[in-house]
Amino acid sequence: MSFRLPNAGCLIDRSNPVSFTFNGKPVQGYKGDTLASALMAADQRMLGRSFKYHRPRGLVASGGEEPNALMNMGEGARFEPNQRATTTEVFDGLTARSQNHWPSLNFDIGALNNRLARFFPAGFYYKTFMKPQWAWKHLFEPIIRNSAGLGQVPTERDVDRYEYFYAYTDILIIGGGVAGLEAALESGRSGAKVLLLEQSPHFGGRFMVDDIEVDGRDGPAHIAHLLAEIAKLPNVTLRARTQGAGVFDHGYALGYERLTDHAPAATPRHRLWRIRAKRIITATGALERTLNFAGNDIPGVMLASAVRDYIRLYGVTSGARTVVVTNNDDAYRTALTLYAAGLEVPAIIDARPNGGGEMSDQARALGIRIETGHGVAKVIGKKHVTAVEVCLQSGTGGAVESIACDCVAISGGFSPVVHLWSHCGGKLNWDEENAMFSPDPSRPPTDQNGEGFVLAAGTASGALGTNACISTAVTAAHQAADEVGRSIKEEAAPRLTQTPDETPMAPIWTMPAQAPYKLRSKTWLDFQNDVKVSDVQLAAREGYESVEHTKRYTTLGMATDQGKLSNINGLAVLAGALDAEIPQVGTTTFRPPYTPISLGSIAGEASGPLFKPTRKTAIDGWHKSHGAIFEPVADWRRAYAYIQAGETTQDAITREILATRGAVGLFDASTLGKIIVKGPDAGKFLDLLYTNMMSTLKPGKCRYGLMCNENGFLMDDGVVARLDEDTFLCHTTTGGSDRIHAHMEEWLQTEWWDLEVFTANLTEQFTQIVVAGPNARKVLEALGGTDVSREALPFMGFIDGKLAGIQARIFRISFSGELSYEIAVPASQGLLLWNLLLQAGADFGIAPYGTEALHVMRGEKGFVVVGDESDGTVTPHDLGMSWAVSKKKEDFIGKRGMQRSFLMAAGRKQLVGLRTLSDTEKLPESAHAVEGGKAIGHVTSTYFSPTLGHPIAMALINGGQSRMGEVLDFPVGSKVHKARVVDLVFYDKEGAQQDV
């Protein structure tokens, strides 16, 4: 029976009751309770079912290492599976349900697996379910998937918000126990900027629970003292409820702050801290290990430190009659705590032949029975403990006595929490005396300068005793302060601590030492994943000898607790099975996060509309209110077509094209990249970047240019305008603007850093509007302000001037094949100009057109679109654009690439036009030309041309230029489309329309 004690519990507020439900049943707790402590107070000891055998599971621990007490929490849009009861603070209205059972926690069909456990040893699934071939996918896998998994699947979109927080600090301390706080105080005194993260809602760690005296103060009083001292230092920040989740290269660390998990509200639920620290001190404490005896997974068997935590912190006892089983002195604290709370301790079973130190004398003096040299043969009980069978530790498990009890408090020694030390490559030493891995200070994670940037302090460094714990913290603080250039001048007076003398622990990896298979196959290492001692031994016998093999074969340590309790025990059992030393076997790799963090917090604010925010041009609002449908292009959205009442999309496209070709069209081209390249070497730089010559371009003139990658394949195109002697404006494709800007910078910064050139991406600073069509000039003239006649502004020229009073740069370039002006104005003037153009053009039949109309028109002209006609395997020559590849230039990116044999070979794919034999049947998108069963090319663009009244297409075809007039087959599905290879330019081959 577990219940609330009348008075203990330093974290709960008994005047503040809280009600919540568990499996639909109302439960009462107090403010300050965790879900685990409140459930235990309500005598709810069974909290879930294990993964594989669906065995009853109860609490083992009191913190983030808890493997069993996982809950389906909350409802609807706030539902969350696998929430740990031990780290969940209760609040009014909380709803929790236990997991992984059907139909109920008490009666679970899945528990049949437990009956058949002998057929399901580690890795059994690798040895069967192989035939017939279809059966894995259709029969076995579905059964396994349904019985595996843990929590339920959420069904709704999360309603909570998450946020990022960026912090820069000299020293980051992870862990707010005594070591962390001492380190914060000490390093804080140096004036360094210090940030300390503590995962739980309160500071002090084990000092709140263990009877320790420092400078005449008891544990909690000393913590209060430290907090008060730290509060005086403005340069030290403490954050509770914030887990140090991961340490990455270059002093980058993650903090996971849970702001409202204990009181759901509108403020951000979680905040992910991204921290850059010059030094990191891990003061993360140590975790107690379980003991390995048969039935150690039965609810009621708990870590001794956790039993003590529940009493001291929450005033809850895990049982009325608790047997303590240990291989070290610390568990005696639990026995004494139980005794002091007036609870029965029928026996302390100490596996060490000679028992413990000072505290064992105290216990004996109180009349508590101590059995040294003994162990537990097995635990009796089904859904919870009813007794333990005691045996000689050295024997094979012959029971000497059965002791009735309802709780077993176990301690297998301690393991420093080395996770954060290890995330970024910190190495470990095996500490023989305490049978644990601890950080090796001579092999820390190293930073960009090759210097260690993580220091371990307190028990996390392997210093288990209080004195050593505090002194390592102070030392680490000094070292960190020194290394960030903030030496601490005066030495703080050393702390005077009072702790009982302890006798060394004894490494006990199986209980009893000679446990036979029958016991070993009932002895759990990993409670959540159901991995037993016999499983690890089987893995070793079958040759899965590396710890990583054993882990993967047995699933040891792969559960949601990531083996915090089981790893070292598992390693020890493996080492035993291999007859090797534990350090030889080594650990598995520690990976972030320390305990799981919400995916929502990782995404941060960047969800919904803030996920890759849509880039919109200055005219976007107009487009939207005029029937535009949009298409995403890179991060932008562009008007695809403007649909008028009663029109289909195709109708609209046709109308837009005919209006442009017949009168005048208006197009928002603002998304095209606009990069300024400036400096004395700008021309030289662009000659290297583009395949054609740019340095010879005259100021005031434009030239269409191509860019290739080093392999000689086309990567972007656009018009370059020379603004003055050392300034060029390079237009890129919409998708290319950021990429090409980065490309330029990469070359400038890594290869041609001797060139005097600067670049700036001005894409968003300008609105660019195309006025195209036979009436284009008339529209501009109607606006007035600048002479745009053929003479004043010839084709491929530009001028700076005013249009209707707006400062503008007017280019004579054309992608539609019509007389065309592109007008760039500051983005703030963009919408104004657009509206003025519409007004001025009204008499000339002006119509806005979208990207699809543009694409069709350029298709009619045989102009390529990078990404459609090119795909990263196509050279300018393949596209028939050899004229744009300079033969004179000594070098440019891609020149050498293009000279490789395959790029020069005959028979390469070449761009051609296609004319379907039928005038009504458009070629399907991406259709492949097939000859003799092999593909010889594919359609790159296919449209119906309203101008010409028939379908047109472009295609890359093997040796295409020499196939003019040939009819090719394009089989798609059951149909074979036929089309003739024709010239690329379908409309106005002479270019008369654009050069007027």
Partner: protein
């Protein structure tokens, strides 16, 4: 080799599983072998297995510096598909996929090949055109794929948000016979079968040098002594550049860290593999219930097997937009593997400038799916000394010739 079967399990159940033998032998290395393979990843082990099985060459050592399967083979997100654009790629990946179908039975080891279907989402018009192109190409190559409408996508994956708002799903390329397999089991299954055919798998032994004489390989130096051989296969993925240097040539390969992560396990919620390349994320659910999520590759070369957090961020954001219900699930673990990237994102299989020395590398972010096909092809190449039909297009010389087999063409990522 004692056969695995339900019957064998039942038999062992009644004798405390004491009768199971080692899955593979742990031999002392001999002084000399006919063939030495460096690297006991999936590709190295499969090569050894097919050399023994298809070509009767059994005097083989596979030398592994760590534990077998511990490289990328044991770190990947296990997507298997063969819907590639280029004919050469489709041929070898489809060969591999076909072999995967029967691999459990062939190796007598359940590698859990689960042809649950691979769905590649098109979220822009451009991407949709790209997938149409692959779909058309696949039809000619004989690889069964089809295009799905957004409604079909939704019915296969009810937890997906197909209406955007940012990138609505416009369609998808679907390969019904693609899927996943258990990565460790692939390595272990090949190791067990190869070992049974006489192949010596030598773990915890690093190759530190390659010896040669007159342009011909003569053996390797290892942390456990020199081993001579007539033919050498270098199959070390991310460390290919290091081994090539030992052999005296350079490779057009960059090694970068590629990351993945898993969520905590939940009950089944998605039955297919989804890849969303526009937003950069892909996801499937393991048999244990974890969501297996693939991240991006770091932009700088390194050998750390870690990775920066920024890629995890980007991937998780993308997937929450695509699958809104996952926001309150938790990330359990993230890790990285060193992937070997070539310029055209296709592998290198075949001969090297050093006589008798063969290489298989450059699988980059997507070589789990090819393990059986690649092992098959390299084995044939090493046995005969000349590139086999599947391997021939992937020779090292193609970079000098500019004859790329570019798979980044239609879809950005190539997992």
């Amino acid at each position: 080799m004692r056969k695995y079967s339900a019957f064998a399990i039942a038999r062992e159940a009644f004798r405390h599983h004491s009768g199971w033998q080692r899955a593979w032998r742990s031999p002392e290395p001999k002084k000399s072998y006919q063939v030495v393979i460096v690297g006991a990843g999936g590709h190295g082990l499969a090569t050894a297995y097919y050399l023994a099985k298809n070509h009767g060459i059994r005097d083989i050592a596979v030398i592994e510096k760590g534990w077998l399967g511990g490289g990328n083979t044991g770190r990947n997100t296990t997507i298997i598909r063969s819907n590639y654009l280029q004919d050469e790629s489709a041929a070898i990946y489809e060969k591999a996929r076909g072999l995967y179908e029967g691999l459990s039975a062939e190796l007598n080891y359940n590698i859990m090949f689960s042809p649950r279907g691979v769905m590649m989402l098109a979220q822009t018009e451009h991407e949709l055109r790209g997938y149409h192109r692959i779909n058309q190409a696949n039809a000619i190559q004989g690889v069964a794929t089809e295009m799905l409408t957004p409604e079909q996508v939704k019915s296969k994956v009810p937890i997906m948000e197909i209406n955007g708002p940012r990138y609505p799903v416009l369609g998808a390329l679907w390969q019904a016979r693609g899927g996943t397999a258990r990565h460790d089991a692939v390595a272990w299954g090949y190791a067990r079968a190869a070992s049974d055919l006489g192949v010596d798998i030598i773990q915890q032994t690093e190759v530190t040098g390659i010896t040669q004489s007159g342009g011909q390989v003569t053996g390797v130096q290892t942390t456990r002594g020199d081993i001579s051989c007539k033919k050498l296969g270098i199959v070390v993925a991310g460390h290919s550049g290091v081994l090539a240097e030992m052999a005296g040539f350079r490779l057009p390969i960059e090694s970068v860290s590629l990351q993945a992560l898993v969520s905590e396990p939940i009950k089944p919620c998605i039955d297919v593999v989804v890849m969303a390349n526009t937003v950069h994320g892909y996801l499937s659910q393991s048999d244990k219930g974890e969501l297996v999520i693939g991240g991006g590759a770091d932009g700088y070369n390194n050998y750390t097997q870690r990775g920066s957090f920024h890629h995890v961020e980007e991937t998780v954001r993308a997937l929450i937009e695509t699958f809104p219900i996952i926001s309150r699930l938790k990330q359990l673990r993230q890790w990285g593997g060193i992937v070997d990237m070539t310029g055209d994102r296709s592998p290198i299989i075949g001969k090297t400038p050093l006589g008798g020395c063969f290489i298989n590398c450059g699988w980059g972010t997507g070589g789990f799916k090819s393990i059986p096909g690649s092992g098959w092809a390299l084995a044939a190449t090493m046995a005969s000394g000349e590139p086999d039909e599947l391997a021939a297009p992937f020779g090292l010389e193609r970079f000098a010739e500019g004859r790329f087999i570019d798979e980044s063409v239609a879809a950005g990522v190539a997992h």
